[in-house]
Amino acid sequence: MKKLLGLLTVMVLVLAGCGSSEQVGDGVITIWGTPDFDIPIFEEAASIYQEDNPDVQFEFVASPDDVGQVIHTSLASNTVEGLPDILSLQDQEAQIYLESYPDAFYPLEDIVNYDDFLDYKEAICTYEGSTYCLPFDVGVAGLFYRTDYFAEAGYSAEDLNNITWDRYFEISEDVYNKTGHQAIAYDTNGVKEQIMLQSAGTSYIDDRYENLKDNPALVETVEKDKIIRTSDWAYNSPDWAATLNSVNSGDLASIPAGSWFIDIIKAEPSQSGKWGMAPVPRLNVEGATNYSNDGGSSLYVVNGTGDEELAADFLANGFNSEELAKNALNESSALLSYIPAIEAGVYDTADEFFGGQHIYQQLADWTLEIPAVTYDAKTTAASSALAALTPDYISGKITTEQLLDQIQQQIA
């Protein structure tokens, strides 16, 4: 029996010895990011920073699938131990974190020169007078389409330039009737509301309107959504994998999406030369533009790790490089929000996959035009409420006005 006790003791000792614990304030900047996309860019920014600060060490960690769960658990437990010094947050989620944990992030407005970064990105991470992020990649939206299918139906690039959603629907229907290829892969998680709303410089919540139903852009967005969801020419995608499949298999004729979607399109090399890009369609309301955003992220310094000043200094000085922006495009197909790089034309290259079109320069130019909007916790709530009420709205059980009233009640 002593053996068993002995075995137990040994196990406990072995386990205790196996762990390696992270030091707080150790002078090593730990950063979380996605391995394919963020980390190659972070690594290069780190090497730029190390030229002037050779003593600073970095550790890059692949952020987990449910990074939000980890961040929420840590911050709700009132501890930053276990969090990195720098993490990247999706733009549409940023305000939720800033509102829920006001002291959790280190303010950067005195350190980072925000004149060098896109205005709309700065707005996203400003909360109660402080700005907390280094603007990172943008998800500037474009309308991606198959030039061969559109040519077959008799449409050229010119026909898609700066059009309205109504016109886009007409063309899509025509393309579908002539070629059999559908447009817009939509699923239950909302069609392209985000793209439509931001292109008109608004969001679900807009201070200019007391009620949701008073916001003309929102009204038009949900109505357009209904048209898409009830039309044959639009593809009803069961999930994300099916969306990817519809693009890569050549079924889909066109899809409006953020610039990060280019990488997905390019995953099927046999379609090289068959794609084109146009600005996203616009709404019919006042202030409507053909420029919008879908996705994108920014970098935040976690407050209280002991290394926050060092980390902030790195963000302020490691990312203002045209070279970095250029390599970010080549390595990760990422468009950074660093204005001098956009103006210097680092993105000005012909893309063979898109028939020699200078897509990245076009996207970069569009980023300068994207209207600034703020997202907050209510935006997310409204988006979920809309998704939940959509079936009733599509079936005609509730009108547009009732739909928006019900959403408003739910988020109040």
Binding site: M11, L15, S20, T34, D36, D65, Q69, N245
Partner: protein
């Protein structure tokens, strides 16, 4: 004739159900030989992308480190939880105390609390103990399995008390009785508990996700999740291959203990 029809009917249903059960495995195995695009397009025949997928996995994932981490956590998690649970069950069943049933019922009630509600207090505890990013944090959480205590106690209910009493008369110590008399007679229970505990430890996701922070501490589920998280289209072929790697040990454990497992199932219903 009637018998024949009902046999055909039974087989039809069984074939459909087994197809539903086996298909994901089949798809997974086919998937490791296909490219990501082929998989999302639903290709169901073997392709020639296996080496490419293997190369991607080896490039992006430190396979040996992950196997080591998973094995350490699953081994200690399984062994410790079996020891703790079987000893606790033995104590609950054999020793008399007027609070015994109340404490036991309280423990059973705790089965109803969802993990999401325990997460934050547990996390605070681990931070307080300085165990963040250690194997210990993951293993400790596994060792306190109320279900396993319940499971062992159920199978101890039919254990002949006379055996224990006669051993006591012969002068055996309590620990000796447990180790030499009780444990050997419960081999089947231990086997099925091993499968249960191992699966839990090997497949654990949420808790390891919260307490493991660095790349070199990650287990299979975390590595799979990291590989499928990307701003690009995820490389489904490589993800499938990593899933296959993580499934193999579970299959091995299951087949090794299967005989006892089936016996245990039969035994518990006797």
């Amino acid at each position: 004739m009637k018998k024949k029809i009902s046999a055909v009917f039974t087989h039809m249903i069984l074939i459909i159900i087994s197809f539903i059960c086996v298909f994901p495995f089949f798809w997974m195995v086919v998937g490791i030989t296909n490219s990501s695009v082929d998989i999302t397009q639903g290709k169901l025949t073997f392709g020639n992308y296996f080496m490419t997928n293997l190369q991607t996995v080896i490039e992006k994932v430190d396979l040996f480190q992950i196997i080591f981490n998973s094995v350490v956590i699953a081994f200690f998690g399984t062994v410790l939880s079996l020891i703790v649970a079987s000893m606790a069950a033995y104590a609950f069943q054999i020793y008399h105390n007027k609070f015994r049933e109340r404490i036991y019922n309280l423990m059973l009630v705790s089965l109803m609390i969802p993990f999401a509600a325990l997460m934050i207090p547990l996390y605070k505890e681990v931070v307080f103990l300085g165990l963040l990013n250690t194997y210990t944090a993951v293993v400790l959480q596994l060792t306190s399995s109320v279900f396993l205590v319940f499971f062992f106690r159920q199978s101890l209910k039919n254990f002949p008390l006379e055996l224990i009493e006669s051993s006591r008369i012969d002068g055996a110590s309590e620990l000796l009785i447990f180790a030499r008399i009780v444990v050997p007679s419960m081999k089947a229970t231990y086997a099925s508990a091993t499968i249960y505990a191992f699966m839990g430890a090997w497949n654990g996701y949420l808790w390891p996700l919260l307490v493991i922070k660095s790349n070199d501490m990650k287990t299979f589920p975390l590595a799979i999740s990291a590989l499928s998280t990307t701003n690009r289209a995820p490389d489904v072929g490589a993800v499938m291959l990593l899933i296959v790697f993580s499934t193999i040990p579970m299959l091995v454990i299951f087949f090794v203990f299967q005989k006892q497992f089936v016996q245990g199932m039969v035994g518990s219903s006797k």
